[in-house]
Each structure stands twice: as structure tokens, then as C-alpha cells.
């Protein structure tokens, strides 16, 4: 399986494959890569300071998320794993909602029920992610069936890691997607690790893209640190899907530069030089060189982008820390569409208990 690459690691492009993206959009893509990296740093720092409980960085994997969202239409649905927050931001998901979600406070649109990082948005068609690995893959196939059934020209894309290819829902997802020819893009972020388990212990396959054929699907392998390759592959897959030709499986080869989450210590299992090799392939630096060479970006502009986001986020954090936790009722709402008697009773119990002191 040969890997599709458009920008090589030193940032030179191969003009014959270069997608036709307007300057303004290219710069926007870059800005959101910067935002993702910045938020990762903030999240990890807040966690280390004990101000939020958890953080999931996607450092090193900015090109996949941003390249993919840029290649889709805004009506297309995204089924994220958890390393694709940039896709929501790119579409306009308000940072205030993110920060309140981090602090699981009363303003958190998800009512303080999820680990920081696991947010979704109906408005931005970014499905609320799970934590059990792989479950979204078959769900995305089912959602794809819905667009087709409703005769909408919508496609969807579902993200998952290399580890998730071992899950049951990966298997059923690709199988159902292929059998029902759903307009679904299966996007695997092969970042080489599932927490501490390396790819070589995850599968015996020479490449993950080899899995596609077993479902009768086209499978391609791309350089996931090359945002133009990502854009190109997703764009083509979406075209196929929209034309009724069914799913495509994309394996994006990338690397998890940070820890798995704030709970993880990769020095326990990861050879240092492995990481060094990969850091050289930083997707942001590569894209920056390209934009500079195109004169779409000036030297120093990156820092400006960064600091303007920085100010915005810091303000939001300061506010978010002031809010209270969600109201007691939120413990019981949304279990069902209504509040059955037993939940009413449980709410009453807890409310009356809170009024009493020991």
C-alpha cells in the first residue's frame, strides 16, 4: 500500500496534486490548527493545576481533523472519536461552550455530565462522542442510511483510532456501510498507539487500509500529517459518497505527540527516539512552510494568531471558574424524555436530604 502525500515533510508541495483551495480558506485552516494546539496546552495545564479534572490532547494530529472538516460541506455530519475537537471549532462551535464544558459548570451545554473533551453539538453536526471505543463507527453507518433514505445530499465522516480497528463496532460499521452503501467516510487516525499498545500488537496487517477490501470497500492510506493529502482524500471520498457510490476507508498515518490523556505517562512505554522522529513531521510546521512559500502567511503571523486566541480563552476561563455546578435537577433530567415517578421521588429525596444537616 503506498501512502498518499502532497506536502512532504519539508513543506514543498507536489503541484500536480495540490487541491484548489482559496487563500482565505487555507489561512482559516491554519488558524484552527493553531487553536487546537493552543487549547491542548491550556487543557493540560489546567488539569495539572487541578482546575479541571481531565484533558485529551490531539497534539500532532491537527492536520487530520482540520483537513477533513475543510473538505466537507457544513451540512455533512461528523462522528468524532475524541481527538477531533478542531472540527467543531472550525464550524463555529463557541469557545465559551467548550470552556464551560471543561469546568462542568451550570453553563455547560451538556450539563456537566461528561469528561472534559467529550463534547458534541447538534447545531454544528458534531455528534456527542462516547468513551467506549469504536461505538460511533456503526452508528455513523446507520446515520448514513438515514441521509440516503431521506434523499438528502448529505454525507458523514466517522473518526476512530488504530486501536478502534480491533473493536466489534469497527467490523460491523464497515460491513453494514458496505452492504447498505451508505454515504459514509471511515477515517482512521493511525497515530501508532492505543494508550501503551503499539500498532504491531494491535494487528497483524501490513497496513490498516488493507482491511477495506475484506468489506468490498476502497481503502487508501494517506499521510495524516499532510493537511493537503487529508483534504484531497476526504474531498474525493465525499464526492464518491454523494454520488451514491458508498463508503471509503481512509487510513491517515500520523502520530500521537502527547500523552494519551492527562492520566497517561507515555515515558513508561514509549521509546524516546520514536517520538523525536515523529516530531519532525509536525503538521503545523509543514503547513506553515507551505503557506509562507505561497505568501499566504507572513513570518510572525503565527504568533499573532496564537495570542489573539490566547486572550479570548483566558477571559473565558476566568469566567467559567466563577460559575456554579449545574442544578440538582440535572442529575435526573434527560434520562428519559419525561421524568418518571421514580426519578421524581429520587430528586425529592436528595433535595430534602440536602436541607438537613447531620
Amino acid at each position: 500500500m503506498s501512502m498518499l502525500q502532497i506536502l512532504d515533510s519539508s513543506g514543498n508541495n507536489h503541484p500536480e496534486l495540490e487541491p484548489n483551495i482559496p487563500e482565505r480558506k487555507l489561512v482559516k485552516m491554519f488558524e484552527y490548527m493553531i487553536l487546537v494546539r493552543l487549547l491542548d496546552e491550556k487543557g493540560m495545564r489546567l488539569q495539572r493545576q487541578g482546575r479541571i479534572s481531565f484533558s485529551i490532547p490531539s497534539t500532532g494530529q491537527e492536520a487530520t481533523q482540520i483537513g477533513a472538516v475543510a473538505a466537507l460541506n457544513s451540512e455533512d455530519w461528523i462522528f468524532p472519536a475524541y481527538r477531533e475537537p478542531g472540527m467543531a471549532f472550525y464550524r463555529g462551535f463557541p469557545l465559551v461552550d467548550l470552556v464551560n464544558h471543561w469546568f462542568i459548570n451550570e453553563k455547560d451545554p451538556q450539563k456537566g455530565r461528561r469528561l472534559p473533551g467529550l463534547f458534541g453539538s447538534k447545531k454544528y453536526r458534531y455528534v456527542n462522542p462516547s468513551a467506549p471505543i469504536g461505538t460511533q463507527i456503526i452508528q455513523a453507518a446507520g446515520a448514513g442510511f438515514a441521509y440516503k433514505y431521506l434523499k438528502e445530499k448529505i454525507v458523514n465522516i466517522v473518526f476512530f483510532g488504530d486501536g478502534a480497528t480491533s473493536s466489534s463496532d469497527f467490523h460491523s460499521g464497515l460491513n453494514f456501510g458496505a452492504v447498505f452503501k451508505t454515504p459514509t467516510i471511515f477515517f482512521c487516525q493511525n497515530n501508532h498507539w492505543a494508550i501503551s499498545v503499539p500498532l504491531s500488537k494491535q494487528t497483524g496487517a501490513a497496513s490498516l487500509a488493507d482491511k477495506a477490501k475484506g468489506y468490498g470497500l476502497p481503502g487508501i492510506q494517506i499521510d495524516g500529517n499532510d493537511i493537503l493529502a487529508v483534504y484531497h482524500a476526504v474531498f474525493e471520498a465525499a464526492k464518491r459518497a454523494r454520488a451514491g457510490e458508498g463508503p471509503t476507508f481512509i487510513e491517515a498515518v500520523t502520530y500521537r505527540a502527547g500523552p494519551h490523556t492527562s492520566s497517561d505517562d507515555p515515558t513508561r512505554y514509549r521509546p524516546k527516539k520514536d517520538l523525536e522522529k515523529w516530531l519532525k513531521l509536525d503538521p503545523i510546521k509543514r503547513f506553515e512552510k507551505y503557506l509562507i512559500s505561497k505568501k499566504f502567511l507572513k513570518n510572525g503571523q503565527t504568533n499573532k494568531i496564537r495570542s489573539s486566541f490566547d486572550i479570548e480563552i483566558n477571559t473565558l476561563i476566568a469566567k467559567a471558574e466563577e460559575y456554579r455546578p449545574p442544578a440538582l435537577e440535572t442529575l435526573f433530567s434527560d434520562v428519559y424524555s419525561d421524568l418518571p415517578w421514580h426519578l421524581k421521588e429520587q430528586l425529592d429525596e436528595i433535595a430534602s436530604l440536602q436541607r438537613r444537616s447531620i
Binding site: Q110, R114, V127, S130, T135, G142, A146, S172, N175, H342
Partner: protein, 326 residues
């Protein structure tokens, strides 16, 4: 004159009428297409509604449930058949980690109101894997509603309600009643609300809580108790296990002061335990005897000795006497 239907024909009719009324409704499962379901619950639906609305799926229960969740997230109304509920377990994760929690975890933003219907229960010489009554697992899973009908008429009314709910529903069909008897089942739109039990027999002496196939065991035992010992049992058909009709239970046990429940599943941690616990917690001062359970035994479902395993009228009668003569 109303048509007389078996329970499985009533399932079929409920599906057909709702397919007619709701063009977002999709039926899916293994063998639901040309074969019409291994019990014929979907017979003729493919021919009438076509392959976009009646889907034969690959052999994968996590696939069926996960695919249905995806449909439901996008506004369709999937009604999935799991061929035997014994085979739902490969899809357990999708059902309990995903369908049951989507609304809650997303702060109400995303919902997956699918219906899963599945034959359950023993009495058909199906052995381990075609006989189980695993309802307790699902009643222990907040976010799911669990419905079990006991007759053809009840089935259509409850299934129609289930297909209009905003929440994920597990609808378990007592397969041993599929063709056991016929009953008048109106065609056209009628529903039986979820969460409301039904007094299937009135009585003053002992309350029997039951549902599905065990309702008929309860009724048979109640007749025997009345005839032989002049003990009058009040038999309640719970219909919906979650949410439970607590008022119906309260009224009855306060009146009778005695309670037993019948379930086919293994005893330990079965739904009967919940029923006993509720009564022991709320109305113990009304109780004039032990709160007892008639259940399957704590073994995998057997074959040769199936009749010994399943709660019978005789065993129930014995329990009624124990509770009454305490």
C-alpha cells in the same frame, strides 16, 4: 366483527399499520425480509414496503443496534428485531452504553429513540439459547424502558405506543404465547399507555404481580386457589417494567397484605427481587406474610427438564398457600 389474531399476528399488524402511518419508520433485523422473520412477525412487510423500509441485515446484533441508533439519531424511527433475545448480548454495549445514555450524556441534545423487539422466554423446547428471560438486565439500565405484553390485544396497543415513544424501548414478546391463543384485536389506531398496569383478576387475599407469559400462570394458579382453597388472588399484569406502575402495586398490596411475583428468569437478582424490595421498603407494615418469588432457578435454561424449571401453576399455588397461611 373484529378479527381474532394470535400474538405474533398482532405484532405484525402493529408494525404494518405504523409503517403505513409513519414514513420514518424502518424495520430491520436478521431474516425479516423475504423470510418474514423466523416467527413470521414481519411477514409480507418487505413485499408491501420495499427494501428501503424492511432491511435484512448482516448477522451482527451490535451492528443491528448500532445501525439503528445511527438512524434514530438522524430522526428515523428504527424498529429492530433481535431474532431471539438470547442473541442480544453481542449488542449489549450498543444498547446500554449508547442508546440508553445518549440523551443524558449529551445534555438532551442527541436522542436515539429506537424500538427493539425480541421474542423471549421458555416453554418452546428451545434450550439455553432460545429461552431466556433477561429483562432484569435491562430494568437495571437507566435510560431504557422495558415493555412486555401478555396477549394479542395488549401487544398491539403497547407496541404501537412503544413506536411513538421518545425513548429507547426494549419490547419483549413472550414467544410461547405467539400462537397459544387468539383474541380480538381491532385494526386501526389504538394504544395502551406505557407505565400503566392492568388488573387482570380482582381479589382480596393475595396480590400476584406478573407479566408476559407468566401472567397466564398467575391466572391459572389464582383459579386453582379460588376453587380449592377459597383464596382470592388479585393478579396484576405489569405490562411495563420500567417505568413501573407503582400506584397499582400500592393499591393492591395495601388491600391484600400479601404479595408474590412470578418471573421466568433465574431467581437471583431477577426482576422479582425488585418487586419484593419495593414492597418491603414501602409497605412492610401492611404485610401479613412473607413476600415471595416464584421464578426460574439459578441455572442456565435447561431442556429436558424445562417444565420442572419454569414456574408452574402448581408451584405458584404452593407459594400462594405459604404466603396466605403464614
Amino acid at each position: 366483527m373484529m378479527p381474532e389474531l394470535t400474538l405474533v399476528e398482532s405484532v405484525r399488524l402493529a408494525l404494518e399499520e405504523e409503517l403505513d402511518r409513519n414514513d420514518k419508520l424502518i424495520v430491520l433485523g436478521e431474516d425479516v425480509g423475504p423470510n418474514g422473520g423466523v416467527f413470521r412477525a414481519t411477514q409480507g412487510l418487505l413485499e408491501k414496503y420495499g427494501p428501503q423500509r424492511v432491511l435484512d441485515t448482516p448477522l451482527s446484533e451490535n451492528g443491528i443496534i448500532g445501525f439503528a441508533i445511527g438512524m434514530a439519531l438522524m430522526g428515523l424511527k428504527p424498529v429492530a428485531e433481535i431474532q431471539f433475545v438470547d442473541f442480544i448480548y453481542p449488542g449489549f454495549d450498543q444498547l446500554i452504553s449508547e442508546a440508553a445514555k445518549f440523551r443524558y450524556r449529551s445534555g438532551g441534545m442527541f436522542t436515539s429513540p429506537l424500538v427493539i423487539r425480541s421474542p423471549y422466554g421458555g416453554g418452546v423446547r428451545g434450550a439455553h439459547y432460545h429461552s431466556q428471560s433477561p429483562e432484569a438486565y435491562f430494568t437495571h439500565t437507566p435510560g431504557l424502558k422495558v415493555v412486555i405484553p401478555s396477549s394479542p390485544y395488549e401487544t398491539k396497543g403497547l407496541l404501537t405506543s412503544a413506536m411513538r415513544e421518545q425513548d429507547p424501548i426494549l419490547f419483549l414478546e413472550p414467544k410461547r404465547l405467539y400462537r397459544a391463543f387468539k383474541e380480538e384485536v381491532p385494526s386501526g389506531d389504538y394504544t395502551i399507555p406505557l407505565g400503566k398496569a392492568r388488573i387482570a383478576r380482582e381479589g382480596e387475599d393475595v396480590t400476584i404481580l406478573a407479566y408476559g407469559a407468566m401472567l397466564h400462570v398467575a391466572l391459572e394458579a389464582a383459579e386453582l386457589a379460588s376453587k380449592n382453597q377459597k383464596i382470592e388472588c388479585e393478579v396484576i399484569d405489569l405490562r411495563t417494567l420500567v417505568p413501573l406502575d407503582i400506584i397499582a402495586i400500592e393499591n393492591s398490596v395495601k388491600k391484600t397484605g400479601r404479595m408474590i411475583s412470578i418471573t421466568e428468569s433465574p431467581k437471583t437478582s431477577g426482576f422479582s427481587a425488585e418487586l419484593s424490595a419495593i414492597v418491603a421498603e414501602r409497605w412492610i407494615e401492611y404485610m401479613e406474610g412473607p413476600i415471595m418469588r416464584v421464578t426460574g432457578y439459578d441455572t442456565p435454561f435447561p431442556l429436558s427438564l424445562e417444565q420442572e424449571y419454569l414456574p408452574s401453576a402448581k408451584r405458584t399455588l404452593d407459594t400462594i398457600e405459604k404466603v396466605y397461611n403464614f
